[in-house]
Each structure stands twice: as C-alpha cells, then as structure tokens.
Subunit: 132 residues, 4 copies
C-alpha cells in the first residue's frame, strides 16, 4: 500500500533553487518541506507568498504522481491554482501536505495545507491538474 | 498623473532571487518583468508555475502600491491568490501587468495577465490584498 | 462547547430560493444541505455549478458565524471564493461542510467540501471573508 | 465574423430560475444580464454572492461556446472557478462580460467581469473549462 520516499521524481531546477525537499509520496498524498532562508523572504522579512504558492502547486501536483495499486507514476501540468493565506512564517521549516481529492483519467484536483514548524496553518490552497 | 519607475519599492530578497525587475508603477497599475533562466525551470524545461504565481502575486500587490493624486505609497499583504495557466514559456522574457480593479480603504483586488515575449498570454490571475 | 442548530441565522431570500437548509453550526464549522430539484439543474440535467458555488460560499461564511467560548455570532461578507469541481450530482441530497481554517479579528478563511448523498466529493472550495 | 444573439443555447432550468438572459454571443466573448429581484438577495438586502458566482461561471462557459470561423458551437463543463468581490449591488440590472483568454482543443480559460447598472465593477473572476 502507499509508496515510500524512494519514488523517483524528475529533477526540477526551481525546486532546487528554493531548497524544497520531497518527503513521503503515496498514491493520493504528497509531503514537501523547506527550510526558510533569507533569500526566500519578502520585504518585511517573512516567507514570500510566492514560495508558499510554489509549495502548494508542487504538493498538489505530486499528490497525483503515484497511482493506486501500481508502481506507475504520472506527470502532470497545472491548469489552475488558488492560495488562501492564513498566516506567515519567519524562520524554521515549513511543510506542505497535498491530498488528491478527485479526478478521472486525465484531470484531477488536489487540496494542500501548509504548516509552519509549530504545525500552525499558514496557507491552504487547491489546484486542478492534467496528466501529460 | 501616474507614477514613474523612480517610485521606491522596498527590497525583497525573493524578488531578487528570481531576477524580477519592477517596471512602470502607476496608481492602479504595475508592470514586472523577468528573464527566463535555467534555475527557474520545472522538470520539463519550462518556466515553473511557481514563478508565474509569484509574478502574479507581486504585480497584483504593486498595482495598489501607488495611490491616486498623491505621492504616497502603501504596502500590503496578500489574502488570496488565484492563477489560471493558459500556456507556457521556455525562453526569453516574461512580463506581468497588474491592474487594481476595486477596493476600499483597507482591502483591494487586482487582476494580472502574464505574457511571453511574443505577447502571448501564458497565465491570468487575481488577488485580494489588505493594506498594512 | 459547540453550538446547536438552534443558533439563529438571519433569513436569506436566495438561500430559501435554492432550498438550502442550515444544519449544525458550531464555532469553526457549518453544515448545509439541499435537495436537488429540477429547477437547480444545468442544461444536461446535472446540479448547476452555481448552486455548488453558492453552497460553498454559504458554508464557508457560516463556519465563522459562531464564535468560540461565547454565544455571540458575527456576520461577514465574502472577499474571494474558489471552487474546484470533482464530480456532479443528479438527484438526492447534497451536503456542504465548511471549516474555518484561520484568521484574525477581521478576516478569516474557510475551506468547504461538498458531498453527494453517497458521500462522494463533488466539489471543494475555499473562501476569504471579512467580518462586518 | 462574430455570432449574433440568435445563437441557440440549450435551456438551463437554473439560469431560468435566476432570470438570466443571454446577450450577445461571439467566438471568445459572452454577455449575460440579470435583473436584481428580491429572491436573489442575501440577508442584508444585497445581491447574493452565489448569484454573482453563477453569472461568472456561465459567462466564462459561454465565452467558449461559439467557435471562430465556424457556425459550430461546443458545450463544456467547469473544472474550476474563482470570484473576487469588489462591490455589491442592491437594485437594477447586473451584466457579466466573459472573455475566453486561452486554451486548446479540450481545455480553455475565461476571465469575467460583472458590472452594476452604472458600469461599476462588482466582481471579477476566472474559470477553467473542458469541452465535452
């Protein structure tokens, strides 16, 4: 059942630039994490909303990457993305948990929550994706 | 009328990391641009959706930065952000144009279009912001 | 702890037009339900997406209506709303469950799931609201 | 070029319940209008946000209905929808203008503005649609 972190995900230069680490990947679920560093800050010294949006996009995408009852993986592109900001983070780790919530053979939807290192929600979002 | 590019905007480390340049800022309108570089790519060699989301967030924010009939500027935080992807870009410049579409003393809304260097729309989004 | 369904909610003509019933209201949580009727259909005989969007808006709003540790209630207006459609419904009941996910004294965020009568998710959305 | 209002659109019970009228339909553009009536109000006597969301959904859908250089029309389903509220309306007509902003053979994106009868923007939104 489920996939372990050994699932191979294609390298992504932008993911590396932001220092995102892929955590546990399972069919329908993906975890990512990131250490807040000075380069990821906005003008008031908080984690930039664009970093949070990127985490949501990637966790939502990867929630559809592993397929159930199979070792197969599938890549996808983002059709639409939404982010609601509920807080901010200034230091430590942030963690995104993406859940695939529905979809068919070609299109799927995910919701994603982003937490600071005290497990306080700092953003919640959703995406619609198309398998390539 | 309008503000020139000499309007001072606070430095933002993440904006610098992505190489975003602030173009013309006017009351109700903001332009940003960015050169696509290898570090901004996703796993298939296209501009990462997170970069596009960041452009939309920033252009939408800055569309509310200069106030009409005044030299005053106001900073804001993002409450919510949406992105619809209509295309992709692999090289050259991308340009975001943000328009403030409504709002009051505390809250405002912007819509933003992102174009590749042939002026083809690659994404369109909207944001809701709160002045700080 | 929690509030019971006896919480008084102001009458809403559009809610009545759609036949929405307010279920259990608690601090941070709201349930609504609706019987699918012929007038709520789209051109292919399925529940119209606008009805689903309305359910999401109202459940997200009401998730912030009861305040914790208090009998006080607070009304709010919607700043932004998003809906991702994961399925459709053609008959029976639909049910929306809204959760307040964060926010402060003035602004709050909710996420909402909408289920058909077999508890299959047909849509998921989120909203940003401002207390009036 | 363009299509006239004589373009035939399938009947929709929910559109009728809300009293929406389809205005000019052209390839890439759709107009809808609606008279505000007491049944469409929220608890404070303003047009309900769900009505506005429905207008945006329908105008965005119909912006993709007429095809360029053809008399053909194509129906579609909504994948995702977003709404940003910039104002309210209490009486008179409201009008939604939807523009198809991009897309391919299967998926397309629209942005929609909603105006009160003084042409003040009351909401702006976007949708992602899939042709059926």
């Amino acid at each position: 059942m489920g996939k372990s972190p050994e699932v191979v995900v294609d390298p992504s230069p932008f993911r590396d630039l932001l220092g995102m680490r892929i955590g546990k990947l399972q069919p329908g679920r993906a975890e990512l994490e990131l250490d807040i560093s000075p380069t990821l800050m906005n003008f008031v010294g908080r984690l930039h909303g664009g970093v949070v949006a990127t985490l949501i996009d990637m966790a939502g995408t990867l929630a559809g990457y592993c397929l159930p009852d199979s070792d197969e993986t599938r890549s996808s592109v983002t059709l639409s993305l939404t982010v609601g900001f509920t807080g901010t983070a200034t230091s430590g780790k942030v963690r995104a948990v993406g859940l695939k919530r529905g979809g068919g053979r070609k299109i799927y939807n995910s919701t994603v929550d982003v937490f600071d290192e005290n497990d306080t929600l700092i953003a919640t979002g959703q995406g619609t994706y198309r398998y390539t």
